[in-house]
């Protein structure tokens, strides 16, 4: 496969996202140019307009126009952190002492009202509100409906998965990136495999998250961030 074909295949899901959001090719030109500038920066290209133009193939006027247009920083997910700190009990009182949902929410974000966090978690299906209690439904935060929070996860997870694979190709970095892939299955088989994978994957993610939380609480001042993830995808027929 030629590198142009590799890039096209990798870009197909993003093209689908763009079309789904009413964007055309012209709308993607600036984001693509900014991505080249960010990549050049992280690869140690000298930060002059000429060096950046030479390394990226961009016109100098585009470099000048776009180089100071910073990409929005990653925003830590307060709902995800709240779920990670949920105690062993499945049900918490909504209000009250240290073991209440309100106290847990305040420990995560003091500047956001607990009700706001609760609404976000209920909308994502992570918890349910039952009278004066809150019940944990799943130990993950997966916002849906094309919400801004869901798009943030799309960007973060795709970025880090792509970064791991590209680092392996360019620098033999050794990041874990493996997938089990089979065809010739029917829908029922795919669903059964998906459930099996999700259960195993969640067990691993919970184990890693718990260990990471302990290490973060113990020191928590290092400069390294980590992301370990998993995904499953199945579709009918040939898809380019």
């Amino acid at each position: 496969m030629q590198i142009a074909d590799v890039l096209t295949r990798a870009l197909v899901p993003l093209a689908r996202l763009a079309i789904g959001r009413g964007l055309g090719v012209r709308d993607l030109l600036d984001p693509l140019k900014r991505a080249f500038l960010v990549a050049a920066e992280t690869q140690g290209v000298r930060q002059t307009d000429s060096a950046l133009a030479l390394a990226t193939g961009l016109q100098r006027r585009d470099v000048v126009r776009l180089r100071d247009m910073a990409v929005a920083p990653r925003i830590p997910s307060a709902p995800a952190r709240l779920i990670a700190r949920w105690p062993d009990a499945a049900v918490l009182p909504l209000r009250g002492g240290d073991d209440s949902f309100d106290a847990l929410a305040r420990s995560v974000r003091r500047d956001v009202h607990p009700r706001t966090l609760l609404d976000a978690l209920v909308a994502a299906g992570s918890v349910t509100e039952e009278g004066d209690t809150v019940r944990l439904v799943r130990r993950a935060y997966a916002p849906g409906g094309g919400s801004p929070e869901q798009l943030l996860y799309l960007a973060d997870n795709l970025h880090d998965h792509g970064a791991a694979a590209v680092s392996n190709v360019l620098a033999d970095a050794g990041f874990f990136d493996r997938a089990a892939h089979f065809d010739g299955l029917d829908e029922a088989a795919a669903s059964a495999l998906a459930a099996r994978f999700a259960a195993g994957q969640m067990a691993v993610l919970r184990d890693v998250a718990e260990a990471a939380r302990g290490l973060q609480d113990a020191s928590g001042d290092g400069a390294v961030r980590v992301r370990f993830g998993g995904y499953g995808y199945w579709t009918e027929g040939e898809e380019r």
């Binding site: 997910s77 952190r81 990670a84 439904v137 935060y141 916002p143 998250a209």
Partner: protein
């Protein structure tokens, strides 16, 4: 002398505040993503959720 020591203490505090943590104001941590919202994740031999 006391005023001098107060000034030194203030400077040391400021230096500690400026040079200390490399972490963002709000720490990151948790499990999340774009899916799956309706996971049927009880599989024999594997822990059920939550």
């Amino acid at each position: 002398m006391r005023r001098y020591l107060t000034l030194v203490a203030l400077m040391l505090t400021l230096a500690a505040c400026q040079g200390g943590s490399t972490r963002a104001v709000e720490p990151d941590g948790g499990i999340g993503g774009t899916g799956a919202r309706d996971d049927a994740t009880c599989v024999e031999g594997v822990t059920c959720l939550p």
